[in-house]
């Protein structure tokens, strides 16, 4: 899929804002834990997985990892995460 570019029809004094998906009040269903492959991201996610499993035993947790932190996640990985999960938690920095 190619990226479409459009031209800004406004006077450009406001930064382009991206819409954020509304945040649900409860965590139910499937949660993705995404490791972007920065050092020690896995440590954080291990702890998070443990804590979440204790607090929310009915939630299904799946671990994912980007091949490298320096590039955007491959399209297939993004689609896979989007199709199979209700939430995603990404460990960003080391």
């Amino acid at each position: 899929m190619t990226m479409l570019s459009i031209l800004d029809p406004t006077d450009e004094r406001v930064p382009v804002s991206r819409q954020i998906t509304p945040r649900p009040k409860q965590i139910v269903g499937n949660v993705a834990l995404l490791d972007i492959s920065k050092p020690r991201g896995n440590v954080l996610l291990d702890h998070l997985e443990e804590t979440l499993s204790q607090r929310l035993p009915d939630v299904n947790i799946t671990r994912y990892a980007k091949p490298t932190f320096s590039k955007p996640a491959p399209e297939a990985l993004r689609q896979q995460i989007q199709a199979n999960n209700d939430f995603v938690i990404e460990a960003l920095a080391d």
């Binding site: 459009i6 800004d8 006077d11 382009v16």
Partner: protein, 526 residues
């Protein structure tokens, strides 16, 4: 024809970056694999490379990566074809046909340009190179080659690529901020989310579409034509073109949109007040002159309604410029209590040919042959004036006067102006008695006149003159007849509509004069 081949850097089939300085004695040839002439030329290029590569910089540039690989496999040439699948180098060199061979001299200037394959030209060039570099003549069986082959279209001028390449080129007129829409985003939803829309879907303003839109005017894309309230955003031709694309305009409508925006950006029009008022005012655009026909505007049946692209999208484009550049959005600085459908679009043409009087633009000081846009601020309309019975001009104009008295409320005299749209059947009735526009205005004022005492608020309607004010007035003042409009000039008259139906209509104005909005006309720069 280019005078020099600019510097470039392209990758060859071995994935090595090859830089071309643009200032050397060189041979640069553009080819593409699916062109039969390019295939005929391959043996000549190979011989040329073999003979002269030591003495002169030779670059062979292919326009598709897969094609380059196929040529490499089929011919096994001594050179590795450079990949210009992005077509930027082909575009910059203004290549229209492949093969095109440029010979540049030591200063980088193009000395020879060979387009397609003319055997004598190629043979002559190679002979001159042999002489120049004191080498034996290239060993080629020239007679086995065709005398002439025209070549094929370069991919850089293919309509599916050309607009994109123009938009991306360094001298592109496009300067607006580019916004990338994510590959997984829906561009139509994205534009709604960004608040660009009036509530209806928009055409995505891609650089290619905006460039095509800019073809509709000779004016410089960066020319600033005004400042749009309420945000005081600078409006240039490019921003108008972007909004015109979103509205669905054709490029030939652009001059009309530009002129309307120019009219709106004036102090007289006062778009700040027009948008901010709780009353719900909106621009109403009337187009006169030859451009009406050139762009296919509707001035006949249903002229004030939907179904005509020019009418609908010109009005919409103007509204989108006000929204996006001016920042007028409902609930923010646009404060209309109810809003009205004219805020989506309201633009039509006058049927001058069915008008027995001077058309609007001539009345407003332009030549009949000028194309002109006139912008009015109106709060409601079109409100019908139904009269199927009157058979004389006086009687019909009387109905009009009585109906127009209802604008705002019947006691609101001297309050506003109106734009009266007289339909053809009503024109015919008025012309039975050879009515002029002046006669019509006079009769409207006569039949809408009331003694001042009738305009005082009372238990039936509290609107109008305050009772306390009236109590201080003389008998003479209370008996004075007050017409609906402050002056006859407040009654603007145009002709439009289908041939059948005795239903004229009026748009009702907003605050007039210096404290409100004054109608503005602008000649359309075609």
């Amino acid at each position: 024809m280019v005078e020099a081949v600019a510097a470039f850097e392209l990758k060859n089939l071995r994935d090595e970056k090859i830089a071309f300085s643009g200032t050397s004695d060189a041979l640069v040839c553009f080819i593409k694999e699916d062109c039969p002439t390019c295939k005929e030329v391959m043996p000549v290029l190979m011989a040329m490379y073999e003979h002269f590569a030591g003495g002169i910089d030779i670059q062979i540039i292919g326009q598709t990566l897969e094609g380059n690989k196929a040529l490499d496999k089929a011919y096994g040439p001594g050179f590795s074809i450079l990949d210009d699948s992005a077509l930027k180098v082909s575009f910059a060199a203004d290549v229209e046909t492949v093969p095109t061979l440029f010979r540049t001299d030591a200063d980088g200037a193009v000395a020879d340009t060979l387009i397609g394959f003319v055997r004598d030209e190629w043979q002559d060039l190679l002979q001159r190179l042999s002489a120049e570099f004191a080498q034996a003549e290239v060993d080629l069986d020239w007679q086995s080659l065709p005398q002439w082959r025209p070549g094929c279209g370069s991919l850089s001028v293919d309509p599916s690529n050309a607009d994109r390449l123009r938009a991306e080129a360094e001298n592109s007129p496009i300067r607006a901020r580019k916004i990338d829409v994510g590959a997984q985003d829906d561009e139509f939803e994205f534009m709604f989310d960004q608040g660009f829309s009036d509530g209806l879907p928009l055409v995505p303003p891609t650089p290619e579409r905006v460039l095509r839109m800019l073809e509709g005017t000779r004016r410089d894309a960066q020319e600033i034509i005004g400042v749009m309230a309420p945000n005081l955003g600078e409006v240039n031709i490019e921003k108008i073109a972007i909004n015109a694309v979103m509205a669905g305009c054709k490029p030939q409508y652009l001059p009309v949109v530009i002129a309307a925006v120019e009219a709106i950006c004036t102090d007289d029009f006062n778009v700040h007040g027009v948008m901010a008022t709780t009353m719900g005012a909106s621009p109403v655009i009337v187009v006169n002159g030859p451009i009406r026909h050139q762009i296919g505007m509707n001035m006949g049946m249903g002229a004030l309604g939907q179904g005509n692209r020019a009418n609908a999208t010109i009005g919409r484009a103007v509204r989108l410029v006000i929204r996006n550049v001016g920042g007028a959005k409902p609930g923010e600085t646009e404060r209309s209590v109810l809003g009205n459908p004219m805020k989506f679009t309201m633009c039509f043409a006058e049927w001058e040919e069915r008008n027995p009087w001077q058309p609007l633009h001539v009345e407003r000081g332009f030549d009949a042959s000028d194309s002109v846009v006139s912008v009015f601020t109106m709060t409601s309309g079109p409100t019908l004036i139904v009269d199927q019975e009157s058979r004389s001009a006086d009687a019909l104009a009387g109905t009009m006067g009585q109906t127009l008295e209802g604008i705002y409320n019947p006691k609101a005299h001297f309050a506003t102006n109106c734009l009266l749209v007289v339909v053809p059947e009503h024109v015919d009735t008025l012309m039975r008695d050879n009515y002029s526009k002046a006669d019509l205005r006079k009769r409207i004022q006569e039949t809408s006149s009331r003694p001042t005492r009738d305009l005082v608020g009372n238990d039936v309607s509290g609107a109008g003159l305050k009772a306390a004010t009236a109590a201080g007035m003389s008998e003479e003042a209370l008996n004075k007849m007050m017409p609906k409009f402050r002056t006859e000039e407040d009654i603007h008259i145009v002709v439009a509509g289908g041939e059948a139906g005795k239903f004229s209509a009026a748009f009702h104005g907003w605050v007039t004069g210096n404290i409100g909005s004054i109608p503005v006309s602008r000649k359309i720069d075609i």
